[in-house]
């Protein structure tokens, strides 16, 4: 009985997130004509495919009790690398795509090694990574590089038809594949179990004989890879590389993960929750677009308020479960 209850507590944020999404969607449907349609729902995925991909990577980082601030800048760097290799070096996409994906992965490995080997705080290491990636992308070029290449425009404009005159983009398919692999990784592999264990207590995980060091490096590598993949998707979306792309995106990502019910102290949360978190950020934007008169800064304020509510909710849950443990 107690076991069942404590499980409920951990799922509470996720339940709250899903009901919030349903609530916001019905609010929009009641208030605006044309809001209640499958395409509006699918557009949430189309416009936020890249955010879903980084949020998935970030979920693993936060589950392990860390944080990755470099993801937004890595998107910019990837877009710059992809754009300059395609347009200036005239390389084929078969070479450009793997190299672009390697950018974030290498960043992730180095950050993970620094964090694990020298026991540095993830916050500071990834902060330096954020500066570095942004600086490097400006060093490639200060100006926007627009991409004019058949492969990129194909990826950008292809519509995959769905029944009922609806459609999705290739990016959505990539994002959904990433989500499925991540759910598999988190819940059905040793790697996923170790991530949750590190988040619960790094020391206990170490004493249990779990490969803490290797897993930590892998987590940041995974996050870096996801950031680069998101960078590519973002490049398809914008069809350009620019050093200022995705400015502040790391905060949106962290917000999405937190709103998705992952505890910032680590150890509890779901990849699926982060996807819903991203959809909530998306629906705030959509409502603001439909409202027409509300300006974009309301997005920031709304995200702030939601963050506050969910953080307090998380805090209450943690306090309750601590109390429960103490009384047992």
């Amino acid at each position: 009985m107690i076991n069942r209850l404590s499980l409920d507590y951990k799922q509470l944020p996720l339940l709250a997130t899903i009901s919030l999404f349903v609530l916001m969607f019905s609010f929009g449907s009641l208030r605006y004509t044309g809001f209640f349609s499958t395409q509006v729902f699918l557009n949430l995925f189309i416009d936020n495919a890249f955010l879903i991909v980084i949020a998935v990577g970030m979920t693993f980082v936060i589950l392990s009790g860390g944080i990755d601030l470099s993801v937004g800048s890595l998107i910019a760097l990837t877009s710059m690398v992809a754009a300059s290799l395609t347009m200036e070096a005239q390389l084929s996409p078969w070479i450009v795509v793997p190299i672009s994906l390697l950018v974030g992965t290498v960043f992730g490995v180095v950050q993970g090694v620094l964090i694990h080997l020298y026991n540095l705080q993830p916050f500071i290491v990834t902060l330096a990574g954020m500066f570095l990636a942004r600086g490097l992308s400006y060093m490639i070029s200060v100006e926007t590089i627009s991409i004019d290449h058949s492969f990129f425009s194909y990826m950008a404009s292809t519509r995959i038809p769905l029944p009922g005159d609806n459609f999705i983009s290739i990016s959505v398919v990539i994002a959904l594949i990433v989500v499925i692999i991540a759910i598999f990784l988190a819940h059905l592999t040793n790697f996923g179990r170790t991530v949750y264990a590190i988040g619960g207590s790094e020391q206990s995980a170490m004493l249990m004989g779990l490969p803490v060091g290797r897993t930590k490096i892998l987590i940041y590598t995974l996050s870096g890879f996801c950031a680069s993949l998101a960078g590519l998707i973002f490049t398809f979306y914008m069809l350009s590389g620019y050093g200022l792309h995705a400015n502040g995106m790391e905060l949106d990502t962290i917000a999405a993960v937190v709103i998705g019910g992952t505890l910032l102290t680590g150890g509890a949360g779901y990849v699926a929750g982060s996807v819903v978190g991203v959809l909530i950020l998306g629906i705030i934007q959509t409502i603001i677009v439909f409202e027409g008169t509300l300006s974009s800064w309301w997005t920031k304020i709304a995200i702030g308020v939601l963050l506050f509510l969910f953080i307090v909710l998380q805090r209450v849950i943690v306090l309750r479960s601590e109390k429960k443990q103490a009384s047992n």
Binding site: L127, G135, Y138, L264, S295, W297, L307, L319
Partner: protein, 347 residues
């Protein structure tokens, strides 16, 4: 004499600062010249002091927050809010004399201190991690600043307002006096009263300090309020300097620069010890680095790369694991220091 100099926390920051300034001397020999123009001192050194004033202020506030093992990510947004409130108050009142100026200063400092206390309450009363608690305002604060200015870059047409960031007093920029005043108040309060000790005690162990009779919750609340206040003053200087308020870009990346300044100054991110003078040095190093990069003619974008490398090097040098692994292979010259080092890692 030399030994005590080497041991001082300020030794390395001062050496680095002098090195950066020296580089400038080779590039442009007029770097150190200070002229008197219209009764004002002008020159690159004065410029560094003047431009670095907001960063110094914000870093002073950040030092005390970090000393309690916290961090304040919201300062950049508070700068934007403070500038927006200041500019809008000055713009909306068309009184005579200095009344609008004092109203603007009072209102924006009051609100920034309140914003700081919001962070402090979340951290000390609800027990949210500082990174997370201040993240909320980091996201929402910029939205609020834009809301205040209506999303526009608001220009101020009121001359006394420009005095805060652009005026001169006794031939020196007025902002330098503001920094000096805040710095001395902070030093007096933390070094001449027990307050500094309390802050360090809370930073090294909040539970133990509570048991020792320190009101650790109020100490935490206070440092966040002070940080908000400092960011408020910094925001007023910045917005008065350019005579406008820009909710989107004012104070962008300032939180990161401030954290960097604190770390360069020798304050550990683990809390428990702080060095205000070191922080001021750190802020000056960052500012002169920026000025140097501009004056050498390297693209300004390199700035970020240089900063990233500096952060990493400083953090690696602070890490006991790194020192043991990299320097531990060589001959150990001073056994006393080695013992001390092991003592630190064991605990």
């Amino acid at each position: 004499m030399i030994k005590s100099m080497l041991k001082s926390r300020l030794f390395w920051p001062i050496i680095v600062l002098l090195l950066i300034l020296m580089i400038n001397l080779f590039v442009d020999s007029s770097f150190f010249s200070i002229e008197v123009r219209n009764g004002h001192l002008t020159g690159s050194l004065i410029d560094i002091l003047n431009r670095g004033a907001p960063l110094m202020l914000i870093s002073i506030g950040m030092t005390l927050v970090i000393a309690t093992k916290g961090i304040d990510l919201s300062v950049g947004s508070v700068i934007a809010m403070s500038g927006a409130i200041g500019a809008m108050t000055v713009a909306s009142t068309d009184g005579t004399g200095l009344v609008p100026l004092f109203m603007a200063i009072g209102l924006s400092l009051l609100i920034c201190t309140l914003v700081g206390s919001w962070n402090g309450l979340l951290v000390s009363r609800i027990g949210v991690q500082p990174i997370v608690a201040t993240l909320i305002l980091m996201v929402a604060g910029r939205g609020v600043a834009q809301l205040i200015t209506g999303g526009q870059i608001t220009t101020v047409y009121y001359d006394p307002y420009s005095y805060i960031g652009g005026g001169y007093l006794l031939a020196l920029p007025f902002s330098v006096f503001i920094v000096a005043f805040v710095f001395f108040v902070a030093v007096l309060l933390t070094r001449k009263t027990a307050l500094g000790l309390f802050i360090e005690a809370v930073g090294s162990n909040p539970d133990a300090s509570r048991l020792a009779g320190i009101n650790s919750k109020n100490i935490m609340l206070m440092v966040y309020m002070f940080s908000g206040f400092c960011a408020g003053v910094g925001g007023l200087i910045l917005s008065s300097n350019v005579m406008s308020a820009d909710g989107n870009n004012a104070g962008l990346w300032f939180e990161l620069d401030a954290i960097l300044a604190v770390v360069i100054g020798g304050t550990s991110l683990m809390g428990g010890r702080f060095y205000l003078m070191g922080t001021v040095m750190g802020a000056l190093i960052i500012q002169s680095l920026t000025t140097t990069i501009y004056s050498i003619g390297v693209p300004a974008e390199t700035n970020l790369v240089v900063k990233a490398i500096v952060v990493l090097v400083v953090c690696l040098l602070q890490s006991p694991e790194f020192r043991r692994k990299v320097f531990g292979f060589g001959k150990v010259k001073r056994t006393g220091e080695q013992k001390e080092r092991e003592g630190v890692t064991l605990s």
